[in-house]
Amino acid sequence: MNNDIHTKEILKPVSNSKQIVEKYPRHTLKIIKGNFAAAEAAKLCRVGFVPAYPITPQTSIVERLSSIVAAGELDARYVNMDSEHSVFAAAMGASLAGERVFTATSGQGLFYAHEVLHAIAHFRLPIVICNVGRPSLPWNIWSDQTDSISQRDTGWIQFYGESSQGVLDTIIQGYVISEKLDLPVMVVLDAFYQSHTSENVWVPDSDLVDEFLPPKKRNGNEIDLKNPKDYGGLVPPDHYETFNFQYWRDITKVEELTDEIGQKFGEYFGRKYSAIEAVNIGPKTKMILVALSTITSTARGVINNHPEVGLIKLRLFKPFPVKSILKAFENVPDDTIIINVERNFIGDKEGAIAHEMKHALYGKKNKMYDVYTGLGGKDVPPLTIEKIIEKGFKDPEEIIWIDFE
């Protein structure tokens, strides 16, 4: 399953026709897998330290980065670590010393790194990582968002990518947001549907990315040998809350900043982004599907045949974009029903999207239903989305397990 030997072939531009070049100037159109798009983004962001450990289905991200560094295409230190726990600890050390850091992981790796995720967030370190979502034991390596969703309270900003293009673009924006607020960012891909599926990706020229994302500036909190400091020593109760307050103050800026940076990204690259995307939502909408990642693409296609059905794509998931959700619901009637499409299981009656949507829409009268689908990588084809819509209109239940045997 090692496709690296074909990498050079794959990364060749597929077209240089004038028409395509004009669509996104200073870009090259490539057909690449989601994992390679993530690696390409890290390269474009000129990361200086990449600690790595293999895990399916993330492995080809760090493999690709190792060849990029070995070929001298990226001036970075690449280190084969002994575990994901060590990967994140090394990332923490490197970021404390002031370097721009990238790594990638998946499922068990993310679970294993859990305590370090907290430390990185509370050290306020601007690190960007990719997580390719998969669940825990019994062994399953396929698409599922339970791993990243279960890290949502570690303090990391979480984005979910719908396409490989979205992943590449979000990693670039992620560094801008992360370095502006000194908060870590996790960009999540769907396993295989995204990580190992090749699609068209507009790869920006590196000088264009340099204009949008300048080299990392030191903020004075980094390790400075001439001005020694102590990081992370025992903080008594009187002071601990102060750190949390500062953290809270900055995390509340994320949603607005995501929209601002997404808008600015559009000005530079021709593709705009925002915290959420509301599709076909208005006074006549009778049903709204809420989803993350690749399921949104499928739903987009299906709702073309259902003018009364709208879609909310949650691109920013943590902190939850409450303001954007409320804005999307401004003209939505009370009898419009909401269906959360959950590709996660967090040991509760409802999935994680339901918890967040209920918190966002507290006080609204809209009925909300929760659909479990696609867990452990089960395919969610257009027919399943059709069934969800049909079930939602005809015979909704509070919790729906669709396509379930």
């Binding site: 230190r77 726990h85 600890a89 990332a91 050390g93 490197a94 002031g98 990081y231 020593g233 008594p236």
Partner: protein
């Protein structure tokens, strides 16, 4: 020949007010260590007594940078710091892990092994006081055979030999590993200097006196740690690029019970007719001393 005053600290690199218990090894350990490493040092601390001794926020006992990190991950955190310091042109700065035996022998052994195997340019210092003392004297795999701890109380004393971490670390083929004692300061300081000069992964294992944990009198810390060397319970040796060298040969080896008797953690062995346990420890210690002597001879003959 080193001058006789080589154990004196010329320039203190610690501030007053460290929070160690009376008679704790850490206090003396870091005074000598930091006086040689200097201010251009990043100390990486996993959870350990020293992470408390150095003081709560915003205090720092050492003149140098301190980074506190997860219990299991000090060598990994140090790896990231080292890589970036090098990229910034600070190859001459020292990155030193200061860990206890729990963080070294148990929870941290994977990241220790990883960093040693990668040949990271890190100095690893372990203050081995033979138990989780910071959490209140729980058994670690460094706890000596026969000792009682709060998790091996009474007659249910620790009934296995301590892990041979020096053997494990030597098997990683690192450039330098050594044991050291606070009762042999010239030897300790010589080893710090040698470790500082050596490039690659280096480890120093210090016998750590701990009055509350070992149930000893604080004023006997140094004499007991000297006895540990004289009995060969804690022999002084170094492994320099696979070559073993014993640094101190006792004129007449003292029986282990002389050292053990002064420590309350072993007192039950003397009350409960456990002469067989003491004999087992003596035999194990003799065997280990013999083994080191053979490695020493073998190394000096080729």
């Amino acid at each position: 020949m080193e001058p006789m005053n080589e154990f004196l600290i010329k320039e203190e690199q610690v501030f007053s007010g460290g929070l160690s218990c009376r008679g704790c090894g850490w206090a003396l350990l870091v005074r000598h260590l930091s006086s040689i490493l200097g201010e251009k040092t990043v100390y990486v601390l996993p959870a350990s007594c020293f992470s408390i001794i150095t003081g709560p926020y915003p205090l720092n006992e050492l003149k140098g940078t301190i980074v506190h990190t997860m219990f299991a991950a000090a060598p990994a955190t140090a790896t990231g710091i080292r890589a970036v310091l090098d990229r910034q042109g600070n190859e001459d700065a020292t990155v030193a892990v200061l860990a206890g035996d729990g963080g070294t022998f148990d929870i941290g052994i994977q990241s220790l092994s990883g960093a040693a195997s990668r040949g990271e340019n890190i100095l690893y210092v372990c203050n081995n006081n033979g138990a989780y003392m910071n959490t209140g004297i729980q058994t670690s795999t460094a706890t000596p055979y026969g000792a009682i701890t709060t998790t091996n109380p009474g007659t249910n004393f620790k009934n296995t030999m301590p892990k041979d971490l020096m053997g494990i670390i030597a098997a990683h083929n690192i450039p330098y590993a050594a044991t050291a004692s606070l009762a042999f300061l010239e030897d300790y300081r010589y080893k710090i200097k040698k470790a500082k000069k050596t490039k690659g992964f280096r480890l120093l294992m210090i016998d750590g006196p701990c009055p509350p944990g070992h149930k000893t009198s604080p004023d006997q810390s140094i004499s007991i740690t000297r006895l540990a060397v004289e009995t060969s319970l804690f022999p002084l040796f170094e492994v320099d690029n696979q070559k073993y060298k014993i640094n101190y040969f006792p004129e007449k080896r003292v029986p282990v019970e002389k050292c053990m008797k002064l420590q309350g953690r072993f007192s039950h062995l003397f009350k409960n007719n456990s002469a067989n346990v003491i004999q087992e420890i003596q035999d194990y210690t003799d065997h280990n001393w013999q083994r080191l002597n053979e490695l020493h001879k073998q190394s000096s003959s080729n």
